[in-house]
């Protein structure tokens, strides 16, 4: 079965640079969530989209923005990167009102 696809899997950036993370949800899933997991921490919710509209916002810095496109894929844009942004970034998808979120493999972002 098709899963959530995230690209790139690994990304190394320098401080103050920008990064774009991409997420392709499971086919026919219309809802996308972004989570950040720091070292030794639990995943923290960043932002979610339903039918291309932002539906909820968590602890996402103002330097970050995201959107969901007409094909339901989503992109997380991160600017003015800081060392503390180094983390695993997970995307998850669901369909409609389903509670079960299916996660992608994550993008490991390292800021040097």
């Amino acid at each position: 079965a098709a899963g959530v696809i995230q690209s790139p899997r690994h990304l190394i950036k320098e401080k103050r640079e920008t990064a774009t993370l991409k997420c392709y949800p499971i086919p026919r899933h219309d809802t996308v969530y972004w989570y950040q997991q720091g070292p030794g921490q639990d995943p923290q919710f960043l932002i979610s989209f339903y039918e291309k509209m932002q539906s909820d916002k968590g602890s996402i810095p103002d330097r970050f923005s995201a959107q969901q496109f007409s094909d339901y894929h989503s992109e997380l844009n991160m600017s003015s990167l800081e060392l503390g942004d180094s983390a695993l970034y997970f995307c998850a998808s669901t369909r409609g009102t389903s509670y079960e979120q299916y996660f992608g493999p994550g993008t490991r972002l390292t800021v040097t």
């Binding site: 995230q6 969530y33 998850a92 009102t97 079960e100 979120q101």
Partner: protein, 114 residues
């Protein structure tokens, strides 16, 4: 403010025995609970879930119990297998419509030994 807590950071169980992973929550608005399994360098994998209107849900070797009055849930794995060794996260959802975010616990690392 950790609204979902897994107080045991690690657990070691012999193969064939029962593994019991515990989770406590503080937010009474949570109405759906999920367990995820995570291997290193992979995303969390959905295991089993339970609605707040139930007190038990079973799927093969995995059973989740919910005690709403105690705000406590547990995941039972019987029998435990070496391939079950992973980090297990408890997660909770506040429901109420679409795109409900998950609030995760801190995880319990399960080691199943031979």
């Amino acid at each position: 403010d950790q609204q979902v807590k897994q107080n045991s950071p690690s657990l070691s169980v012999q193969e064939g025995r029962i593994s019991i992973l515990n989770c406590d929550y503080t937010n009474s608005m949570f109405d759906y609970f999920l367990w995820y399994k995570k291997y290193p360098a992979e995303g969390p994998t959905f295991l089993i879930s339970i609605s707040s209107i139930k007190d038990k849900n079973e799927d093969g070797r995995f059973t989740v119990f919910l005690n709403k009055s105690a705000k406590h849930l547990s995941l039972h794995i019987v029998p435990s297998q070496p391939g079950d060794s992973a980090v297990y996260f408890c997660a909770a959802s506040g429901g109420a419509g679409t795109a409900s975010k998950l609030t995760f616990g801190t995880g319990t690392r399960l080691q199943v030994t031979l």
